[in-house]
Symmetry: C2
Subunit: 374 residues, 2 copies
């Protein structure tokens, strides 16, 4: 139920026990500053997605740099942020179930909170929960802009749902949730522009139709680390929901810019520190971070600044490292920084961030919203 922190403040990085989730604080702050500078003066606000970092500490680092608040995917994440003093939270997802909706109404008493709907079933249930609790709740309409997951069709169906929200005595229509997740990981700029461009068009159409019915969108939210420059310059979105930009990962590192080179705006700041625990034969080493410690849903982790080492396979608690022919092998006890293939689910494996700078542990931050319960 409780993980002992793998480090003490002041320790050297090479003394940290493994596996441990490291934040390189210089790179992390560089990423936060870069995003803040990018959006400054555009009129478009960052509402960073806390499904990536799951930590009020990280949320506040973003908010002091100008973020309007946070997105979350689950009620438990909203609770962890609100309990940690975050004042403006959007649950960018449908919330289903009497108990969960009651928890949302409880949060509405201590922070500004909104949630999404893509069906009249949701609107009826949220209205009932708000009436029961005697609070007002803000509801956004989630539209499907090409992701083929949740979301009502853009256009007239979305307008009808917004009208239903606006007509509900305990609800306020809050705008549109319009996220094209599939666009984030398309590798070329042209592909991302095509996918996000279609999302922008569908969103603009819906905003115009809503306006004809007298409904304004306080929030038009979407975009991720892969596409936010497109949405930010669209004139349509006013909130950017990027999450991974603060950490980056192997998968986002494969996105290419206009020149066919990896997008270099952000730096890798998140690592799983692993120890070599066996070096059983030529060409192979085994580390103590398998897929329970580093998520492999988007591919294997990289080995940071060790081009001669390839993380070639993961079992539950072991990673198999292939050593390039002729290279000096790591020895038992060596520590390697792994770059997660996918940052969000990797963070969700750990209870503690170990913040490092100049080779020393500078902070321990709890990953307050870790866990499978929503």
């Amino acid at each position: 139920m409780l993980q002992i922190p793998p480090a003490r403040i002041g320790q050297r990085e090479d003394e940290v026990d493994t596996p441990a989730l490291l934040i390189d604080l210089d790179a992390f702050e560089f990423n936060l500053d870069t995003m803040a500078a990018y959006l400054a003066g555009t009129g478009v606000k960052l509402r960073a997605h806390a499904k990536t970092h799951k930590s009020p500490v990280v949320a506040h680092r973003q908010i002091v740099r100008g973020a309007v608040g946070q997105c979350v995917q689950k009620v438990a994440e909203a609770e962890a942020l609100a309990w940690g003093g975050v004042q403006n939270i959007l649950i960018s997802n449908e919330v289903v179930g009497t108990d969960k909706l009651a928890r949302v109404t409880a949060l509405a008493r201590i922070c500004t909170i909104a949630l999404c709907a893509d069906s009249p079933v949701h609107v009826q249930a949220i209205e009932a929960a708000a009436a029961e609790a005697g609070v007002k709740l803000t509801v956004l309409v989630e539209i499907d802009v090409g992701m083929n997951r949740a979301g009502i069709a853009a256009g007239s169906e979305a307008v009808a749902l917004a009208q239903m929200i606006a007509a509900s005595p305990h609800l306020t229509f809050g705008g549109l949730q319009s996220y094209q997740g599939r666009a984030q990981h398309l590798r070329t700029v042209a592909e991302r522009r095509a996918a996000s461009g279609a999302a922008v068009d569908a969103t603009r159409l819906t905003i115009d139709m809503l306006r004809q019915q007298g409904l304004e969108c306080a929030i038009v939210g979407g975009a991720g680390t892969g596409t936010f420059p497109i949405e930010a310059s669209s004139g349509v979105y006013n909130e950017i929901q990027a999450g991974s930009y603060c950490f980056m990962d192997v998968d986002y590192g494969k996105n290419l810019d206009d020149f066919g080179k990896p997008v270099s705006m952000f730096r890798n700041s998140l690592f799983v520190l692993a120890s070599v625990i066996s070096q059983p034969r030529t060409g192979i080493a085994v580390v103590d971070a398998g897929h329970k410690a580093v998520a492999i849903d988007s591919g294997m982790p990289g080995v940071w600044q060790r081009p001669e080492l390839t993380y070639a396979g993961a079992s539950d608690e072991h990673g198999r490292i292939v050593i390039a022919h002729g290279a000096a092998p790591p020895v038992i006890g060596d520590k390697l920084r792994l770059v997660p293939g996918h940052c969000d689910p990797t963070v969700d494996r750990f209870d503690w961030y170990v913040g490092v700078r100049n080779g020393r542990v500078e902070c321990l931050w709890p990953i307050a919203a870790r866990g499978g319960f929503s």
Copy 2:
């Protein structure tokens, strides 16, 4: 840092909040009884692998049915079991690092504990830690019997390492760790017999060579849920390290018996309960269990007793369910039992087991060793 339990004892299953990790207690106890009956009278003991269940409660359910103790993969798992009263623990893995080895010596004062080595580097470090703490530690030699992960070569190299252990003043040579993980998931009996048969032969050879040097193996451990009948009848192994048998999963459900049918010895007892949160268009439903809630490293989960529904894709917090043409769609709020593709890492996502029987919540058990820290 703390997950609120998703259920209360006495609730109906359909009232449990989602996602939640369910144990069907009837099926679970059937599996424990089946394994105990299978091994009874063979002289081969079960040392069930707690990397699957991570819970002293489950461990004791196995021990009261005759299991000699538990295997673990990490020191943190050993701690959780020892603190929960488990008296006989084998860390079936190499343990590297001064801090971790100090924790092992601390456990040696409250339970019987052993660990593995596949290199003189390990033996030297364990001897130093035991000497420092003033305790004796039992060390097994891990041999590679075809898994190509950790493990020293069977035969003379293994014998030399065992001699080094036996000659260390604070160490006792405890036997062989000989696990062929790759054999577990081969689909036909013939393939599993070939792979495990080679492991048996290499292990027998090493035991014989050790005996010639005057070294007896108190423990010869290995095998998993896929192959244990082979090792149990080998005359070579005396401990079976099956873990998944208590829960089963989609992956083990694909193993075939001599007649080409799925092996039916054990039942599915582990489920992730999920809610339908969106039903955005014909043929598609979305549930609130994505790959943060149900591990997909060995494939997608199944949908229990709903053949018309296919879990077709997972994102972080969403599962996409494809509905067979013409079938009645699930509606928002419906709850589905998902059968995990891989039980071990799915358990590691949760803090609580929700035990159900006859449609009611009968118990809540903490998943005490959950988490990435080793």
